[in-house]
Subunit: 363 residues, 2 copies
């Protein structure tokens, strides 16, 4: 039977996933047509699905918690969705490499994907190629705005620049809310700032870091985002470990057993960071943790750099991200996007926005 | 005969129009499918069209100059396009109110529209309603990214915020490249800046103003952009003259006969602007020409305001625009978009990008 329904399947119901569900519910109430219909939702332990592909969005989290069904395997999910009576959009709200690895299968079977999951786009270059080849062949769409800068229009802007024929020469910015918060407090434009180890401790207490702060300080999260942007700008970057990434974890603390022990011993290394701060201050500058892509020389790098106090990167506030696109058309002054680059609601907003874009193209 | 062609019709071949044509030609070469096919192009004096709806994009400006055909009337264009053998996108690269007034007719006949023309969206509220009602009824699309901030992702970002259910509380920014240049030179964050009349003269010599600088200084261009953003944020603003707009034209010079005479007499009024600058300086601030929309109180206004020197609006460079979106999700720190907000290439980029978006939805 022909139908104008578009089915939505969701994997993951953590922080971002919960915010997305509430946005989806509000959306269904605001614009009832075309009818988005939830047909599958799973966490790592439980799932909701049924033979008529119909699940109520209201109270879905309670229903999921009460469900006795285990999640399908990923190939089973692909089978289930590929035989749905109408087109399907899969929303991957996990940060799982396994789910990301299955994107080519989903896409080749005509299932569109929207996701904040960085893993698919910042893993091996082969996976990137497989994903976009599968999408081009089947016509299914794949959108991942929130994989860089959460809901900020970073990916869409870069795509627009490239698609309309502009020449992107350089991308530079602060891509981590955690790093932004740390350096805006540790080396502010005005005042002397706090001690490095104390700022890291405070950031953790405020919930701005991963449970083990080393997962932020190793720079890998920023490297993943740079990998995505560099590839969109046309550079075939092999992986997030194939270019220089400066880790802020002292060598001696790389292998301590816990985040707590790390935090306890971090003050021993404050003098190193103080020197870095003082060196910048002596030049009238401040130090920031940035990522940059120089398209002409194909140089991608992540690490500490010094900026004039009047530079937009120096003037950043709170845990904001800032991304500057230098292009041929924009000339000397870059196109700049700035704002919160992390948080459940704004990350989910990027996902919801992508969902609406795919919907406008496939319905 | 069924065809997967999408036809493009273009009205206007001035500064933006020429840049758009060169982007369109480059685009056709880069991605030959789906096939965009030019079927009509006109200036105010000449036109190119033919019974098989096929015009070569290459050398189209020379062909147009050599054409002996006059442009069709706007209703004739609508008839011609509505009977094309496939879907049509009309690109309005004029700033004509007459063309804008015809959008409801084009849209009601299934013809999609992309345009940098502000007139349609900042004229009467009835025209705005007629346009979006016609589009909703026929399913034709209407995109106008470059009507605010040229190619900067301003309209698309505001739409994404609204469509995903965020609550926009305030929009504030510098919306005119001319005003940006003038105030960044007249009242810079560092140094004392130039004389007002001298800066206006310099801006005109550099081509940053309209032929008569009063067309920038009256604030109407900014008021039109504010009208568009306010309406997108949900406020039914009646027209760009229905809220307070501060004109920087001294009353005594409003009716002088020419822009040249205006410039010649402007130095007589420098002391007024000097006082404004000094008043801000005494508070450690700088003065800027901004527009703002307070959604809760429905207050829209355009005029001079003072900003702390560390405020992003104060730190703007050259002729850049800056637009800050304050929303419920983004909290205290706004989502900020910054960069060149005028110029043929970046304005045309917004048009080309819109064309690609419509194409992805109707092909």
């Amino acid at each position: 039977m022909a139908t104008n329904k578009i089915y939505v399947a969701i994997i993951g119901a953590g922080g971002v996933g919960k915010c997305f569900l509430s946005q989806l519910e509000a959306l269904s109430k605001r614009r009832p047509t075309p009818k988005l219909s939830l047909c599958y939702i799973s966490t790592s332990k439980k799932a909701l699905f049924n033979p008529d592909y119909s699940i109520a969005v209201e109270n879905v989290l309670q229903d999921l918690a009460a469900s006795s069904k285990a999640p399908m395997s990923l190939p089973q999910v692909a089978d289930y969705l590929a035989t749905a009576p109408s087109k399907v959009i899969l929303v991957d709200n996990t940060s799982s490499q396994d789910v990301a690895d299955t994107y080519p299968l989903f896409l080749s079977r005509g299932i569109s994907i929207v996701t904040p999951n960085k893993k698919a786009f910042s893993g091996s270059y082969k996976l990137w190629q497989d994903i976009f080849t599968a999408a081009a062949t089947s016509g299914a769409k794949v959108y991942h705005e929130s994989s860089v800068g959460a809901g900020l229009p970073v990916i869409s802007t870069l795509k627009d620049l490239v698609d309309t024929g502009d020449e992107v020469t350089k991308i530079e910015g602060v891509f981590s809310g955690t790093m932004s918060f740390l350096f805006n407090s540790f080396a502010p434009v005005e005042g002397s700032g706090g001690q490095w180890s104390a700022e890291v401790k405070k950031a953790k207490e405020l919930g701005y870091t991963e449970p083990d702060p080393r997962d932020d300080l190793n720079g890998l999260d920023v490297a993943r985002k740079l990998t995505i942007l560099a590839r969109l700008a046309g550079l075939p970057v092999e992986s997030p470990t194939s270019f220089p990434v400066q880790s802020l974890i002292p060598k001696e603390l790389e292998s301590v057993s816990s985040g707590d022990e790390f935090l306890q011993r971090l003050p021993e290394f404050d003098s190193q960071m103080e020197e870095t701060k003082a060196a910048a201050q002596n030049k009238g500058k401040v130090v920031r943790f940035v990522g940059s892509i120089d398209v002409a020389t194909k140089a991608v790098k992540v690490g500490l750099e010094e900026f004039d106090k009047s530079h937009p990167i120096a003037a950043l506030k709170g845990s904001d991200n800032i991304i500057s696109f230098y292009t041929k058309r924009y000339g000397a002054n870059p196109l700049i996007i700035q704002g919160a680059g992390a948080g459940g609601e704004v990350t989910a907003m990027g996902v919801t926005s992508d969902l609406l874009k795919v919907l406008s193209q496939i319905s």
